[in-house]
Amino acid sequence: MAQQAAQAPPLALVDVTKSFGSVKALRGLSLELRAGEIHALVGENGAGKSTLVKTIAGVHRPDTGQVLVDGRAAEFHAPADSQRAGVAVIYQEPTLFPDLSVAENIYVGRQPCTRFGTIDRAHMRRRTREAFARLGVEIDPDRPARGLSIADQQLIEIAKAITREARVLIMDEPTAALSGVEAERLFKVARSLRDSGAALLFISHRFDEVFSLCDRITVVRDGAFVSCDPTADLDVDTVVRRMVGRDVSDLFPKTETTPGDTLLEVEGLTRAGAFSDVSFTVRAGEIVALAGLVGAGRSEVVRAVFGVDRYDSGTVRAHGEPLAPGRVKAAMDAGMALVPEDRRQQGLVMEASIQRNATSTRRRALSRFGWLASRAERDSARHWGERLRLKFGALGDTVGTLSGGNQQKVVLAKWLSTEPRVLFVDEPTRGIDVGTKSEVHRLLSELAGEGLAIVMVSSELPEVLGMADRVLVMHEGRVTAELDRSEATEESVMYAATGQRTQEAA
């Protein structure tokens, strides 16, 4: 019963819970966004930040708890309700309409109308120009949104918020794909919005940004509130400790190994427009991490080495033998395996059963006279299910019924059952809960201990720093640093990933 409407925060969450099936995404989370303040929300991937954003945006409805607008309880049934309450959300991935013009994108769903009910295009264009002038950018309002850079797309999302006179602006990892200059421009805009009285929520993994930009920092872990303090009272170590909730060494059970023979040599690998002159070697028992920002070309390199994509020049050698380019079969025969980035699209057949998925790499080995033997399939799937501690109802259930973490285990089982010598894992723990995450980490560590060479693409710094023996950092398609476990720190990796040179990352 907050009666002091004048001081009531424009938006607050009180004790919000939200579950998806058996997974609790939010457990009793509270958050208060005040006018004229930039509020940071930090937490590991899977801590519930995206669910929180979607709850504020009106995409998800909380199971229990309340959303307060100006101190009064509000029900957001749809994104439109949230927008009417003055909330604007800038998602990680901009949500523009590529076929519509920039001005139409900004005014979609609320175009200004003339007396006759038709869209007032001149007005729309003028207001768009004004918004861009305020942001200090020049984008033609009449051009289609298709082909704009991520940074420009985000500016359009912000222009949307400005023209809507949003009082609450949520930014979900807006800088993940931006260069330093672009990010700085975004911060300038964010500060000027704050100074004009808006409430901002800023979600980021980059601590330097969080500390330089934000006034208060809320930490969440496993969907629950951990702490909320003014930035001045905090330092990076404290925040990291609260985010993780335990020492990093517990979370990443790295077993020390002595590297063996060189299993994979990549030299001068280049594909125009994607990556250029990438060289590295991986030895048995080693975990090499490919770090960098989203879009730096890491997945592309891995896909090219594994033969999914072509490359223009360079060589790949497995066990000293040159590997034919562009042929997955050759890579598999050479003992390679790739656990792809997007398990739903690239790793699994969601409608097929667990056992069918887990054995789909070995159909030939498991069949007799051309017939797939169900028993062999089942035995193999059961063996790997036990080894990976897969939680499932029956092996015949469709993969779609499993949680994200368990789906990832099925993909791992599918490739581990080919008994590879070199394993590529692309974002192995994206979007899976903390418990399963550490199981995956333990497994990777164990496998490396058994002599497997592992190349891990990861956007999560703690994962990179905790797991890797060596870190290759990529920036805009080039390897900008190769760091040993002892040299790799959050700062040194981030510097190289953003393309800024420091003395040690030369």
């Binding site: 945006a57 076929d99 769903g109 200090g136 033609d140 704009l148």
Partner: protein
């Protein structure tokens, strides 16, 4: 790539900021796609006329207009549905149902005024469209499958209703059949109706919020939902309008030919989709205009009329239409690729 400009004060109207990539360079949305098809029509008519001046006799012009009428009305409706990234394969059956319904009403109630019967024909179509739209939006089954089903259901219903009978011109009032004959300045009335439909629907699609939102839905359905666009309602509207136009096409068909049975419009659905695609409406949604779809329909019916004059064997006609579709899609790809390069700023591709 310097960080030097970050020291500026955070005053909102900053000095000309570092020009972002792709700013100020490319011009507006491509509008010449429709123009290209229109030029093709004009060139085809001109060449055929030079080959045989009889092609543009008074009767020849009438036939060209009447031939294009039904297909362009259907193409306009289909364009709406395609723009929302759906498809309606049942239009041929709906048109047949409306045509037979119109004829049957004249037989059953000879006293009914002609406009009422025509409105009933349109209403039959609208209702069939409503059913399609409701199934697509509520059951969340792809429109391709839903309308494939209703295509057979509507046709089957029509066969059962007609049970082999047909309605002849003598059963219809002359005031109705006159509609297919009168004209203004040599343009038959049905063609004028079609032109009016194209103009009204085309204007709504470009100037009304509901129209632009249909483009938005087809362009990025998730973003449309997040933008608070009532996607279900807009898609339903597209299907209802398409159904109503299929109904209108049925009525116009009946007025022109006077004789209808339960097979009217069979096979029409693919011709309609082809016309829309030739006219620049993308199957993937969000792209194209109803003007383009209508011109595409005109091009297809003109080719059909022109081939005999060039003494091309009728057997080749379908192959020509097929080649046209492939050429149109190929052109779209080339234009899209060129456009993408231009929009990205001509520089390096990818990031």
């Amino acid at each position: 790539m310097t960080l030097s400009d970050t020291g500026a004060p955070p005053a909102p109207p900053a000095a000309p900021a570092p020009p972002p990539t792709g700013a100020r360079r490319p011009r507006r949305l491509p509008q010449f796609r429709e123009l290209g098809v229109l030029l093709a029509v004009v060139a085809l008519i001109a060449a055929t006329w030079l080959h045989n001046p009889g092609f543009l006799s008074t009767q020849g012009v009438r036939d060209l207009f009447l031939g294009a009428t039904v297909l362009s009305v259907l193409a306009v409706g289909q364009a709406l549905v395609l723009i929302t990234k759906n498809v309606d394969l049942s239009v041929g059956s709906v048109m047949g149902l409306a045509a037979f319904g119109t004829g049957t009403l004249f037989v059953a109630f000879p006293g009914l005024p002609t406009p009422v019967v025509m409105a009933a024909g349109v209403a039959i179509g609208a209702f069939a469209g409503l059913l399609n739209g409701a199934l697509v939006t509520t059951v969340r089954v792809p429109a391709l499958v839903v309308t494939l089903g209703t295509m057979y259901v509507y046709r089957g219903f029509n066969h059962w209703w007609a049970s082999g009978a047909q309605v002849n011109a003598v059963d219809m009032p002359s005031s109705f059949l006159e509609l297919g004959r009168v004209g203004v300045l040599g343009i038959p009335l049905p063609a004028l109706v079609a032109i009016a439909v194209v103009a009204v629907v085309g204007f709504s699609m470009s100037r009304f919020r509901s129209g632009r939102e249909m483009y938005a839905i087809g362009s990025n359905a998730d973003a449309a939902r997040l933008s608070g666009i009532p996607a279900g309602r807009r898609v339903l509207t597209a299907f209802v309008v398409n159904g109503a136009l299929a109904g209108l096409a049925g009525v116009l068909f009946t007025a022109r030919y006077g004789t209808v049975d339960s097979t009217v419009g069979t096979g029409m659905e693919l011709q309609v989709v082809a016309a829309a695609v030739v006219g620049g409406v993308a199957i993937a949604g969000g792209v194209g205009t109803v003007f383009g779809a209508a011109i595409g329909a005109v091009l297809m019916t003109t080719i059909t009329a022109a081939l005999p004059i060039w003494q091309v064997n009728g057997f080749w006609q379908e192959a020509v239409v097929g080649a046209l579709i492939l050429a149109a899609i190929g052109l779209d790809r080339v234009l899209a690729a060129r456009n993408a390069r231009k929009l990205r700023g001509g520089g390096s591709s990818g990031a």
